[in-house]
Symmetry: C2
Subunit: 191 residues, 2 copies
Amino acid sequence: MTPERFKRITNLLDKRQPDLTVCMEQVHKTHNLSAIIRTADAIGIHNIHAIYSTQSRWLSNGRASGSQNWVKVVEQPDTATAIKQFKQQGMQVLATNLSDRAVDFREIDYTKPTALIVGQERDGISDEALELADHHIVVPMYGMVESLNVSVASALIMYEAQRQRLVAGLYDTPRVSDEIRHQMLFEGGHP
Amino acid sequence: MTPERFKRITNLLDKRQPDLTVCMEQVHKTHNLSAIIRTADAIGIHNIHAIYSTQSRWLSNGRASGSQNWVKVVEQPDTATAIKQFKQQGMQVLATNLSDRAVDFREIDYTKPTALIVGQERDGISDEALELADHHIVVPMYGMVESLNVSVASALIMYEAQRQRLVAGLYDTPRVSDEIRHQMLFEGGHP
Ligand SMILES: C[S@@+](CC[C@H](N)C(=O)[O-])C[C@H]1O[C@@H](n2cnc3c(N)ncnc32)[C@H](O)[C@@H]1O
Ligand SMILES: C[S@@+](CC[C@H](N)C(=O)[O-])C[C@H]1O[C@@H](n2cnc3c(N)ncnc32)[C@H](O)[C@@H]1O
């Protein structure tokens, strides 16, 4: 590894936010997955989660411009298992939901450990996720269209988390464990 | 038109922001165009602009979930003509750019009349747009990937504009002209 690359990776690792994650329920379109992964990388998420009920899978085909090396996609067997894991890690669980019960996404405190659940392109989030979540959140819309693209909605929420975490100084000191650090230096350093 | 539909459209028109627009330079992928149109609708933009140098065109194929009826895509012959138009309308012109010269997108005052220029998926924004723009803006990234998806980057900036305009009360009173109002009621009311 060149010294420049080593430095670049170390800088990236120093900004990683291990207590922030996104979990995608049945998001199937490659361009949406890729866009979500790119945004996750950009705000410092190193692990995202995917739930698929069928055999269809996320395929690494270069659409995410290499971010696959920097953001790990963990497959979860089902929504309940995934949410249980997040809660065991002390995370608040946020379900994105278009109903009136949901609060404005900007009202949430994202400096807390947080897992964001986003739903399928056509059908939205599952009832199970809505039931198990700590909060339902919505991105306010003033038009005729009923929903945003899923990668757009997730990005808006991830960047609100980034904004709050910048203010709170959470990007100022390294926060990833040595284990993740070594793993990423090893995997990312050898493409 | 049913009374409910009439009311829904009127409510939408009351939130429209006629002095805010997005201009896409050579954005070719349908899913990106659709996502940008959906987001524009959601924050109250009724006109967006597209520049294509080739014969390829934006195709209305339902991917934007009907928002084509509510957001008009104006084709511009070239970047210079488009930017000249925006300036004649008193708009500040913002070029999204990944260089160090760009300022953080959150530092801009979006309550001013504003045109946002976004660039092509692969090559980014043109030198001409960079030269003619009033500001270069960037969405800060802390990962290894060099850029965000274009519909994600535009959405983050459009929603920052929405946030500032909400605070400033720009969604509280109707702002579209009677001409646009009648046109949209006519076109949108008859699908
Ligand atoms: C295209 S939407 C699904 C629309 C679906 N018809 C529904 O009613 O939920 C796909 C996902 O994007 C996210 N999403 C889209 N627009 C949103 C908004 N305005 N607020 C919060 N999440 C949103 C949610 O995760 C949603 O499950
Ligand atoms: C995929 S990017 C283009 C990348 C291209 N290689 C470049 O260097 O500009 C497509 C467009 O998305 C927008 N974009 C992507 N990431 C951005 C960011 N972090 N800040 C501002 N705009 C961004 C810009 O409009 C850019 O022209």
